[in-house]
Symmetry: C2
Subunit: 492 residues, 2 copies
Amino acid sequence: MGKEITSRSQDYSQWYIDLVKKADLAENSDVRGCMVIKPYGYSIWEKMQQALDKMFKDSGHVNAYFPLFVPKSMFEAEEKNAEGFAKECAIVTHYRLKTDPNKKGKLMVDPDAKLDEELVVRPTSEAIIWSTYKRWIQSYRDLPLLINQWANVVRWEMRTRLFLRTAEFLWQEGHTAHATQQEAIRETEQMLNVYAEFAESFMAMPVIKGKKSEGERFPGAIDTYCIEAMMQDGKALQAGTSHFLGQNFANAFDVQFTNKEGKLEKVWGTSWGVSTRLIGALIMAHSDDDGLVLPPKLAPIHVVIVPIFKNEEEMKKISVQAELIAGTLRKLGYSVKFDNRETHKPGFKFAEYELKGVPVRIAIGPRDLENGTVEVARRDTKTKQVMPIDTVAEAIPALLENIQENIYQKALAFRAFMMTPVDSYEEFKTVLDTKGGFVLAHWDGTAETEASIKEETKATIRCIPLDAKAESGACVYSGKPSTKRVLFARAY
Amino acid sequence: MGKEITSRSQDYSQWYIDLVKKADLAENSDVRGCMVIKPYGYSIWEKMQQALDKMFKDSGHVNAYFPLFVPKSMFEAEEKNAEGFAKECAIVTHYRLKTDPNKKGKLMVDPDAKLDEELVVRPTSEAIIWSTYKRWIQSYRDLPLLINQWANVVRWEMRTRLFLRTAEFLWQEGHTAHATQQEAIRETEQMLNVYAEFAESFMAMPVIKGKKSEGERFPGAIDTYCIEAMMQDGKALQAGTSHFLGQNFANAFDVQFTNKEGKLEKVWGTSWGVSTRLIGALIMAHSDDDGLVLPPKLAPIHVVIVPIFKNEEEMKKISVQAELIAGTLRKLGYSVKFDNRETHKPGFKFAEYELKGVPVRIAIGPRDLENGTVEVARRDTKTKQVMPIDTVAEAIPALLENIQENIYQKALAFRAFMMTPVDSYEEFKTVLDTKGGFVLAHWDGTAETEASIKEETKATIRCIPLDAKAESGACVYSGKPSTKRVLFARAY
């Protein structure tokens, strides 16, 4: 089963596509660029949603829902935002189909049902939300507004890849409004920290927090903060962004409030989002040639129990023990599957759950019953150990914690290895071409240099790390002076 | 505060609109027919989702996600379904905007970015899902497929009303595939029962289970089952539908499977859905002239504690007690708000939480502290009682259960009162015009009679109740023979 997956060393891109398909996570639909998220893939998204939603609510945010469509005139109100998304928008122009008089049983767009004003399918919701906030905000008492939305968005990408870049994707988008600049910046930073915490504690994926260069900023933002992760092929992946919008959308939609002194002021804004792209990141950060490696905190199934039996009597005895173990674990809140199918052999099942990334597998055979033991295999290290059948359930929680931590530490060590400081453009290019990963280099801060480097090497500035040390140096490209290193990489 | 709501007796429609607005549930957006679901309204939807999602999963269903867009050729494959929705579809025809050369800072649809094939924004997902199921189903081993999707859908309704009928709405849609007709019918009935159970146990809203007449069937279904509820103004509301699709979509998309005997057979299907419309039903079933009345199982806040104080010292003492009560209740899983705002008076707060439908209000003043008591008010009956401060928290769970049951019983008694059997068309019309409600009448089973009655009275056949007793009679309209009474009503 696992054999049908191309190995990472052979073709990393194909490995990813094979894995997404074989592990039943998602597939391309018949609609250009849109994916179908299959049940197993969606259950990982549900796990992500639950954890994030709790973190948002614990930090004072509430959920709401805003329209899918943005009228063109509203869409274009914030010019930079509009310009940034105009080239990749799905546009609704009509609201009715009618019978095609020339083709039996076929429909055609009814020309009489043309909209007076076209509707843009939201690529992001700042415009529709700030046009609403205008009605909701009059006084400082109405602030802050701390609202999140779980929704689908559409960006007409020309080259798509399952989870990583699709025309339609699922995400959450937070949109907050504040009385002061300081408070809005604090919110932007807070949500960046929430994302980093989620990536590291739940996804077991270390990230670097930083700010985007001007050229990579969200259209309409004053500052874009991001978390950047390292994939196993040495390419970076932007895993979440948090934008300080300044007063740009307040200006575009005339959103003002009366402050405590009775004076009118413009509102300050932020927005922040993560998407189903994170599922792609999760796969590429940890999985191997045999299939998914899922951190227990996001695994739809924590433990699978596989019986090894030759006849019904053996199966019966094993079932009793399996149900005892499963029952104990379920009471503790773990998801346990007892795979008692008689149509498949244990070896097939082992491969299947390796493919699906179930963190712990317990195998129970007749000899185990005699010895009062079970065989416990962990997916991350592929190691097995024999454990007493009576206490195995009690040992699982610590084992799962250990797996979660081990997956993180492995990714952290890899990320550390993939951080290379370079001091010349030659070295910069050599590292990119031979080792990949993050290249820490001095940059003169100009858009020209950034563009030239991108043009020549396909590497972009992933971020200016928030914890970058002050260090005087010379730009690897122009030789001009620089005060700190920034993070370059080729990226998804 | 409550005074700003029009009374039900004065203008029921206006009462509803006022309440949705004043209780901060939703509002119309600047996008035609689309609503903004505000945080308080959305939190009710989240409660509904949680309960339903658990019921779906407990009955073996899993969630997945399918594309928002349906290519026109796919949309028209099942002819009746296409015909039923063609008149109210949002159609995407272009995928790019460009700078308008004639208007500075404005955008226009780029005529060079016209799609070869138009995309329909899903009004329902049978087409896109069955075109996918074709890939997923080969053998009887692949069946049944028991999949649900939480999503937004768009139907270009001309007359909209918040929650009840909007161009975009949120819903869940289950789509299942089965090897046999019998199993698919059983699934259709099972999900109808799940909806009825949810309506009655969570929404505290009694419903009548039945089948739609042919004229009211879902386009593309062989049979549509529904649950029908009674609103306080005597109008009926369809609260959920479950469709037996037969092999219609399997035929349209050529979905076949190899049975155990190795022969090819067409797959049988069902689909079923409930939407944010349920929030409208919830409001109209129970609420009163002072605001929302929410059944505890769906109330975002179960208990509000309002301190009554003159100075900081009193406030301090009250806070200690309030936090004790709140802490105990929160540990039990209840949502408790301690409203310690000093900017608003208790009377204002009382009115606000009545408006928001918080089931239980606890007021604590200095005299209460002296007496060791608190005042407990229930929203449903507006009765108050004095309870010992030390044991009030322990008494709340039973009180909330009592409120849940009382709201249901009240609605059940009203519904019983609003069921009127009639035996002549005169009586039929009189009851509709004077009392409203469900009218149980004999019907000759023809579409002509149904249409004439609808034309003349605006009443439709809500359903043919599943538990209708065999009873010979004469159609109230045509006098032709009939074997059972069906349920007529004017409806939302």
